[in-house]
Each structure stands twice: as C-alpha cells, then as structure tokens.
Symmetry: C2
Amino acid sequence: MSRGFAVVGRAIPKRDAYAKVTGAAGYAADLRFPGMLHAAILRSHYAHARITAIDTSRAEAMDGVVAVLHHGNTSARPFTTSEWDAPAALGSLPRDQVLFSAVARHVGQAVAAVAAVDENLAAAAAEAIAVSFEPLPVVIDADAAMQPGAPSVNPDHEGNVAAHVRFSAGDVDSALREADQVIERRFRTSRQKQTPMEPFACVAQYDGHTLTLWSPNQTPHQTRVKLADIFGMAVGNVRIITPTLGGGFGARSGLIGEPWAAALAIATRRPVRLVYSRYEDFVATEGRHPATVTLRVGFKNDGTPTAIHGTALLNTGPYASQGPNVTAFLGMSLLRPYRCGDRRYDGYTVFTNAPPASAFRGFGAPQAMFALEQVIDEIAERVGKDPLEFRLEHLAGKGDEDYALMRPIDSDALHRCLREGATAIGWAAKRGKGGGSGPWRRGVGMAVSIYVSGTACLGDTLTEAAVANVRLNADGTVTLLTGATDCGTGCGTSLAQIAAEELGVPMESVHVVMGDTDVTPLDLGAHATRTLFVGGLAVRAAARDARDQALRVAADLLEVSAADLDAADGAIRVRGVPGTSVTYGQVATAAFKTVAEISGRGVAPQHQATPYGAQFAEVEVNVRTGQVRVLRLVAAHDVGRAINPLIVEGQIEGGAVQGIGYALTEDMPVDADGQPLAASFMDYRVLTASDVPLIESLVIEAPDPAGPFGAKGVGEVGIIPTAAAIANAIYDAVGVRLTELPMTPARVLEALRRTDPTGAASSSRTRESPDAR
Amino acid sequence: MSRGFAVVGRAIPKRDAYAKVTGAAGYAADLRFPGMLHAAILRSHYAHARITAIDTSRAEAMDGVVAVLHHGNTSARPFTTSEWDAPAALGSLPRDQVLFSAVARHVGQAVAAVAAVDENLAAAAAEAIAVSFEPLPVVIDADAAMQPGAPSVNPDHEGNVAAHVRFSAGDVDSALREADQVIERRFRTSRQKQTPMEPFACVAQYDGHTLTLWSPNQTPHQTRVKLADIFGMAVGNVRIITPTLGGGFGARSGLIGEPWAAALAIATRRPVRLVYSRYEDFVATEGRHPATVTLRVGFKNDGTPTAIHGTALLNTGPYASQGPNVTAFLGMSLLRPYRCGDRRYDGYTVFTNAPPASAFRGFGAPQAMFALEQVIDEIAERVGKDPLEFRLEHLAGKGDEDYALMRPIDSDALHRCLREGATAIGWAAKRGKGGGSGPWRRGVGMAVSIYVSGTACLGDTLTEAAVANVRLNADGTVTLLTGATDCGTGCGTSLAQIAAEELGVPMESVHVVMGDTDVTPLDLGAHATRTLFVGGLAVRAAARDARDQALRVAADLLEVSAADLDAADGAIRVRGVPGTSVTYGQVATAAFKTVAEISGRGVAPQHQATPYGAQFAEVEVNVRTGQVRVLRLVAAHDVGRAINPLIVEGQIEGGAVQGIGYALTEDMPVDADGQPLAASFMDYRVLTASDVPLIESLVIEAPDPAGPFGAKGVGEVGIIPTAAAIANAIYDAVGVRLTELPMTPARVLEALRRTDPTGAASSSRTRESPDAR
C-alpha cells in the first residue's frame, strides 16, 4: 500500500453478524402485521398441461379464506422475472410469463393462490382447489427440445430457442482446418440450485395507493419497476423493503414470489405473508442453467491456441428469464481467457419443461470454466507442458487486448494468482506425482477465473447505475444511504468502511441505511459482483462530496483555506498546525446555522473491473468407490484492494465451498416427466462444514485504478474455477476426465471403467511412480 | 391569482383519509414484532414525594417479567423533553428531567417501568412494585409558588421561577402615568389538554447498534438528537419512524414516552411496546400552560393606545420544558397586534407540582388573545367605538412596523379578515342589538389572531431547517422525500401538490416519503405552523432543482435550449411548438443512461410568514343556567395561498372547534394535593360534532411573497382568537366579562350575579331594545 488507511483494510466483523448468529436478525418470514393473511400457492404437478377447468368453490367456502386467485380471475399482463429494460445491456428480455397461465409449463408453476387467516388453512384451501389438467407432451432436455418435431414449450418461440447468441472474431472454420492439432470435447453441467438457508418469504401490503413488499430481493430497485408494470402502478407507488437476506446467490435477483403475494394483497387490501416451503424454493425459483458445452480448439504443435469455437445449449426451462444473458456470458467466459487468433461462439438458450433457470453466482462462467480449463489441461498434456507453465504462457496478460473489454489488460494480477497459488499448494512437488494409499490416489489440478465486477462495459450505452447519499448528523456521526443491497455478503459493513475512510471519521460513526427503494437512491442491485465496486464508487463519491462541504464549513470556522485542511478520526485539522481543529460535530452545528444539513451525493462513474483468480485443488480419488475427497483448496483471487479482508475471505471461501458442491454433489435432476428428483435437503446434497477442507484464501491485492480505494468485487468469483480445478486434479490422480457434473462416485467409477474396461483400475491401475517419470 | 395552477389550489382529499376512516391506517399501538415485550409504567400518585425505598422483588419474580427499571438501576442523565439545543431560538432549555428521579414532582411522574411478555402482566408487575414515599410539601398554583417560603419544586431554581422573560420598548410606566385613561384587568386561563384521539403509543427496539422507535412524534429529527444524548449514542444510530399520527396539537412534540420505551428496549434487547392509557395521556403528557395574565393598557380619550404592560405567570408544572418559550411567545402575542408607543412584558415560567405543560397549538397566543381582545373591546366601549371599527383603526397594518418581526408589515390581510368576517357574520346588524328568546340572550363578538409560520425570525442565527429531496422514477413518477411530519394535518398531500405543481406532473405521480429520520432529510418537525410554509419551500426548491435537471435532459433529447421548455402534465414541451415533447418517463430513461437518476435537493431559505385572522362568534347565553351556545362562528384566516382549500378549511375548523372547547368546557383542574380532577373523557369535556355549530371558514388569500406559491401555514391559527371572540360575544349578549377559562355555566352565572347581586339578572335584566339605543 502506498498510503496508510485508517478504516479500509481492517478485518471488521460484519455488522449484522451478532444478530444473525444469535437469531436476533429479522427475516421476512418473521414479520407479522395486524390483520395479516397467509398465502399458499397451488402448483402444477405436471411439467406441461393445459388447465381445462378450475373449481375454487370448496376453497372459497372455507371459513377464513379471503381470496382465491387463478388465471380465470387475474390479469394476464406478461412479465419477465428478470431485469428491467432500461439497464439491459444485451437487449430486453422476453416478457413470457404471467401470474397464472392456462398452461402449466413446468412442475411447480403457480396455478392458483390463496390468502387466508392462517397458514394451515391457506394450505388446506389451496389443496381444496379442483383443477382439471389436460397433459401435453413434455420435453426436458435442451438437445431434445431443439430437434425437429419436439413438443413446443413456448408457442411464441418456434423450435424452442429463446435466443441464439453468436459472436466471433476471425474465421474460425479456416483456422481449425489449418491448425496442427484440434481437440473437440463435450461437457454437461448440472442443475445446481442456490439453496439459500432462508426459503423465499415476503409480505406484501397494499393500501389502495402504495404497494409495499418486504422481500429478500437482491435487486429491489429493478423489482419495483417490474411490479409497477405488472400491476399498472406508478413506480413511485411501489416500495420494496429488504429485511435481512438469508442468502442470495442469484436466486433472489429478479422477481421471486413477490408478484403472487402482491396480487393477493391488492385483492384483499390486507397484508399477505407468503413463505415458500423448501420444496417450493427448489422447484419455483430459478437455478443454474444445465449446459451442454462443446469446445473445439485448434493449436500449433507447441500448444499455441489458434482457433476456439464454443457451442453451448443452455436449458432455461419454460421461460427465458436471464437465459439469453447467461448464454452470452458463458460464451464470453470461453473465448476471453486465452490468447487466440480466431474465436467463435454459438450459444442457444433453449426452452424446455424442466425447472426454470436464471442467474446464479458465476452467471455461466462455472459452466464455461469446467469445459475450457479441462481442454486447456488436455492440450498442455498433448504438447508436453505443465498446465501451470502452459497457462502462464498462453493466458492473455498485461498488455494483451482483453477480448471482452476490447481494451488492453492493465494488470498482471492473473499471473500473480497463478504463481502465488501454485506456490501455496506446492504445485511443483505434487503435480503428476501421484501418491495416496490403498485405493486412494492423489492429484492436484488448477483452473483460472476471469470475471466481471460491474456491468458497465457490456453495452454501448450506460448500463450501470449506483447512487449514494451521505448525511452529516448533529453530533458529527454520519448516515449513509445506499441503494445497494446486502444479500449476506457484508457489503453494508464494507461500504461503511469506504465512507468512513473517505470522510475521516471512525467506523462507528457511520450508520448505513439500505434496502428500501422508497428512501435509498437508485442502484441496480446485488449481481454481477458489482456492489462493492460500483456501489463503493458511489459511496466514495458521496462521502467526498460531504467531506468537501464539511471542509468548507471548517475553513470558515478556523479562518483558513479549505485546501489546508485534512479530515481524520472525526476531526478536521489544519495541516501542519497541531492543536487547531474542529470536530465533525462542531461542523454539523455550524452548518445547521448556514445550510441546514451537510448532505453529499455520489453517482458511480461507468467502470467495470476484472477480478482475476486461480484455484488449486488437491484431491484423493478412491478407485474402488469413485469417491472424491478434496484435501486442500487454494483459492488465489485478485480483489484489487481488500476493503475488509475478513469479508473478502468469507466470500472466497463461501464461493469455493459452493464450487466444491457444484463439482461433487449438487444437482437437481428431473425425470422424463419433468419431476424433480432432488427437491429437499435429503436428496439435494449441500456440503456442510465437515464435508469441506480448510480453504486457503490468498487475497491478491492489485489495486484497480478505477475502483474505490482500488477495490474490485469478489462476490461470485470463488465458485467459478473450483469444479474445473477439481476435475483437473481428478485427472492428475487417476487419469480420467470427468465431463459431466456433478462428479459423483458413480460417474468417476464409470469413467474409470471406460478407461479400463476390465475393471482392473480399481485394484491394479496405478500411475508410474514419480521416480519413473 | 395571476397565473393558473394545475394542482395548487385543488381541494384534493388527504391521501390517508380513506385508510383512516376505514380503520386501515396503522398506528404505533397496532405494531407487533416477534419477541415483542409490553411496557407498563408505575407512576407517582403523589404530587411531591421522595422515594425512600423501592422493592421490585415481587415484580421481578413474576413469570414473564423481563425487566424492571427505576431510579436505582437506571442512569440519570438529565434531559429536557423539548427542543434540541441547536435550533433553540431563545437559548437552551433547562435539562431538568431524568428517566426516573428519586423525587416525584407531579402526579403521574414515572417511578418505575416494567417490560413483560404481555400487557396485563406488565401492568400487574408495575403494581407489584412496593414504593415507600415520603410526602413533601406541595404547591400547585403559580402565584403561590412565587410567594416567599413556598415549597421548592426544583432545587436548582430558587423561588420556583424557571424563567423570567422580559422585553420592552419605551417607558411604559411613564406612558401609563400620562395616559388619559388606564384599564387594568387580570385573566386566568385553564389547563387545556390536547387530547389526541390516539393515546401515546410507541415501540422501541435496540439491536446493540441501532435504537429504532416507531412513535407518533411531531419532531422526530429533534427527538432523535435528544434520545442519542440520553443514552450516549451516536445520533446516526437512533432512528425515529412515525407511523400514522392520531393527533398532535403539540402533545406529540418533544419527547413523550420514548425515553422509557427505549430504556426498556436497551435493557432487554427486545422490541418493547408502550401504550399509554387515557389516564396516562392526561397526566403524563404536557398540556397547555394555565396562565394568569394581567394587562394594563393606557389610552387617549379617543381610544388610541399609548401604553401596554402585560404580565403573565405560566404554570409549567415541575419541569421547564417549552415553558420559557411559551412565556415569551405569550408576551409577544400581547404586545404585537396594536399600534402603541410604549410596551413592556414580564413573563414568568413558574415551577409547581401541577401536571406538566409545554407546547400546545397556539403556543401562548390563545391565553394572550383571551386577555388582550377583551381589554380592547372594553376600551372601545369606553370611548364609544364599535369594536370592529376600533380594531380597523388601531391594529398595526400595512406599512406599520411589525413589533415582532421588526420590519414593516407588507400585507393588508388582517384588515381583509376583519372586513370579510364582519360581513359574513352580519356584524353591523347584530352587534349590540341583543335578541334571543326566553332566558336566552344573543350577542356577537370578535377577536383577531396574529401568529407565526416558521421560526426563522425568533433568533439572530438561522433557526429554521427544512430539506427535501425529489427523485425521478423510471416511469416519470416522482418520489418526494421530506423531513416534515404529517401529524394529521394532511401536509403530506399539500406538499405533494407543491412538488407536482413545480415539476409539472399530475398529482398522482408524486409519492411522498416522510416520517423516518434515517431516510428523510433534516426538518425541525411539526410545530410553529411551519410545515407547509418552511417544508413547502424546501419541497418547491427540490422540485425546481429536479425539474431543471429534467429540462436539461429534455433539451438534449429535443435538441433545443432548456430555456425554451415548459413542463406540464407530466411532459416537457417546446414552448410555442405544438407536438414537440418528451414525457418525464422518457427523460428518466434518457437520464439513466447519463446521470443514473435525476435527484433534486432543496433547502428552505430563512423566512417567516405572519398568518393573520379574525373570528366572529354569535352566541346565546342562558341567563338562568349560565349556559353558552355558540350559534355561529365565522373564521376568516389569511393563508397566503390555499394550496389545498379542503385541508385549509379542515385546519381552521379543527382549530376553531378546539377553541370553542377551550372557551367553554375544556380544563383539567387539579386539587390542592395536585390530583387531576378530570383525567378521562368522562370528566374532561371535549366537544363533539353535535356540540358545535357549522363553522364558516373564510379562506383569505393574500399571497406571501416568500411563501411556496404564496402559501403560509394554517395549522394553529384556528384556535387562537376563538375564546376571546366568544367572551366578547357573551359580553355583547349579557353585559358581563368572563375573565376565567373555561367559561362554564357556573362562571357565567357567577359573573351575572356579580353584576346584579340581587340575582335578578336571571329573570329581569335585559338589554335595551335595539330601537332604544
């Protein structure tokens, strides 16, 4: 660090940590309002069926049932759960959903909704609704959905393609023809669910004028625009308040259950509480896109890549949602990391009757990296290079053109992550050296992550918006109003550190207000690893504005020029003249008499940062059972500047744990009828603390010139390379490539058997000893 | 009006009217939080006693009792319930209260407080606290308290005088000696209570970091500063949210029950709900100061006043609170209205063991006018002038120096109120003409009101602070954030009209956010008839700022100069070029791409307006029973500009009804031991709709040059002259002067008997017939 910071860089516990661990924190499901009703949603058990009749008479006759809504009595204004048009970088998303449709297109789609005076009654009333379904043909796989004659999921989109995203540079076909060697591989990824610990819950209230939702929503400012549109209301009359969020990971971006709670509140004019069961949180929220990724890479005999063509099919379920954007981002993640002359990507967002998919931490990048980083390892092996050396040689680095940002890369952080991570894991000593005992074989593998922080660059118009206000209170303490959302990342604490540092006040002086669209300025929400970076830029600008105002007031009080003043520790001092100072409290009092209140405003400039990272996994594979144990995971991530190292490490570790789950256990498969086969924590295996190794976070600080105090975001990056690093480590251990996620024992065994059809692998196959190589 | 308005001047119903009349509006007492505790306060039944022992063991042993606080276990940081020091115009108010004192100084003072899991349990536990009191000598009347040897109420203030407020111009003693005639009269006013329909209620919550209060508080921004001081917290960490207020009238300004609820919340770390009983709302909130007002007025034989000397004793109870300010304002109200060479005022704020008094609609002016306007009538009678003519001649008017503001009066509104009111009541035909039938005698009377709107002029530094923000939403609707408080006046609606007018958007487009200190900018709260005037100035400035930003964006879109644009009906048009326009929604979208969000900020300039008024009462007095019936009340009030005539009339009518109550029925007397004798609606007579005549509001519009669209405030003025007008009408009917409030049948009869000790009045005294005069 070139300068000392007072607050930035301190490992301060998240401000809500104590409340959360003691159970004091209030979540949406904890809210109670006088006269509040409880909602239950009747959901389709068919993956595709037409509703031919619906009889709500029994439900409506139940004492205490106040409203029953369904497609026959509710307006059908189409919407998308995902982003608001204005900031859409890649064009507007299709508005292909309605509150209640006459056609159910996936298991779990809302068919009717009930509001009643208690929860059990609401559930009983929902069950008492008699619905006649006419089953329609079902298509579950994206490949199948694209075949001629496949059932049509969405009549507005012929061939079940929601979007075909294509971009290219150069002539890939020729380059592939002319390449010394070509590798083509296909990968299939799983239907990972975000599984926040808090199932979705919200309370909606409508007073005839204002619709208020208490909802754990990651993008409240966007959500209010969408709700206003659905219900034909003024945006100003829709208010989203976010209580404590019990996890986001993308599942709480866009609309979740808010439209149904709101519809019931509007119908009843009473507060309506909607709490999803864990089953609903699995089937009625949007997970990660299962993707089939095909990579063709051409390269010279020395390994230099010359052509890369990626193709991806993303199974988005029956509604587009963020699918087109995820499809695009997956492709960018394939084509961006390595220097390569000619590149092409064809991505298809495919409609099916599988459960819906949309944004999830990493937004297409984990799928891409699982494919790309295994193929890179394979090329390195073909040309006899160590995977680390190969990457250091061929990854786009400082001075190269960034394929996504179309500007030169100005950071060597990726190479630093590679080198420091390799040292930490002991790469040189372990790679290709085998080890293990009994049926267990050891190996190490690595993969990189190149992501975004902010969305500014993705379009040619401004697509970022983050605003903050800083108000100086009477006693010199500060109220920070930010439109950002803390979805559990602790950004409320980090943003307060940025404000405290910029103002020169103690951390304890900064009170943060966030999560209420009525009162906080505009912000696009918690996604794209943007909160600390873009939100932090707004906060820093607002704090600077307030500080400059305070310095002017102090200059009058001290009868000096504002240029001679410094602010630190809650006081403003004349530089170089000890003993001359005024406190921020004195400034606030003086300001009261001249300008009423010091209030700064900051708007984030349009920047996007690139957080780089590399992860290194050491695994043991049991050649008899196919079980994979992750022994160590070194996660080296460039965060620009760690505003709060504790929070940064928490984000990296959390991402990596979710990445290990993605690699090894997490999946919600569906059967041929579209029935989810793992929609509970009994069947869907989320890793617990005892399942994962100690994750070694290496926080690499390569300050971003545009970031707040040099910081970049870190929220999503931890998950991106993990599965790929583990897959590469499995290969190092047992010599087989896993091309399908999750890498379950069954799949590992199957891959071992494919390599050694005699089945001898489990007992006799061993790698050469280190000495023999 | 010189220009047409689109929204200003429209009689739009208050936005919360429907919710209030249907019971949908949520008040503080309606709030419920998980884990919430209920508070009960044990209050002193002694007016003056030392606590010698307190035994909480029985209460603490009760199952479900979570905390018991009293003077032995609670910090004793002194505070004042009233204003925060920074904006204090007349010097800081004494900090003479503590949460729990070892000495009770009035009946109803808090002795201990309990938090328990239900309301009844809390009450039972409070009763189970055993307190030993050592009674101390009690003094109830202000006169008695000022006598040598009187019991000392407050050991820090010798002689029981909290403040002696004195101001003078000229040499009053000489002027009185040299006057042709002198009248000296003494008046006594009552202990009126504000009796909001909602007894005080609040919920406090403390999470270890932030103290949040949901409280119907008129001055939340000041209250948070005071609470921060009491509990040694950062101001930024105290948040006051005002739910719907069920009436204010001054009783909800300053601290009410918040400190006790907060102390329990801090002690228990659980939400604590404190709801006052009606008894507590009578004895533990601060009412109107009973005052003894002595006026000596010297005048020439033609009636011209030459000297006025007012003396007032205000009984403030045991704590100063706003007493010194009310004392000052009473004096200003006595000396200000009439042209007069020499003036002097001596006001005393006197400590007693009577119930506490502080701010109440009118803030000393009703007491002053009750005295002054009767004396003026008496002078007019002495010199043979009609009271209307006398006032038109001697009231300070346009071009005269305003005694309070020390600048020339620039309005003839007072004289317009007099003339138009007199015409409406039929003054010329009725005054002095008697009438009535049987024992009922008719008469008409009048009185004037000269008040303030805002507090800017009262000190030599800036004492006003009002800030507003206006944010443009994605669809062109607007969110207005104002620090102002709507204590039931409807100012939320009126302020929206100001914003809509200034922006040129429909009223429906403006969503108002108010009543939350964390999120709304600074404002000093609902008092001093300042909200519409000062708050409106801030709102208009903020709207203008936002509109100017929008015009600049529109100018770019339309490729014209911003100076050529007008905004109206939600659109921005090129002046004189039909068909060229953009909507505010289009501007918001365009602005998103350049500045993220259009957001205007406005700070009210330092202005104070003078709302003038005159009321005319027609009464019938029953000479046998002493009963007084108000037959008609004409209330002519200058409001500058009626932003919303419906709301203006509502305020005038509400004030006048409370004024009739002040005149005739409302009083909370206490006995010699300090026991309130009317602390319920059985004993304390608030007038109902069937008790009052149709009140004829004459809305006089004399636009104030500094006001928002010319408006002035109207919240308090309706109550000020009413009792005086009725007293003068009683004199006109039956020839007796009532010098004590309320003018109950007993007092009227007593006055009639004093005039005609034979008691014949009730049957034989009649005025001369009109013809005989």
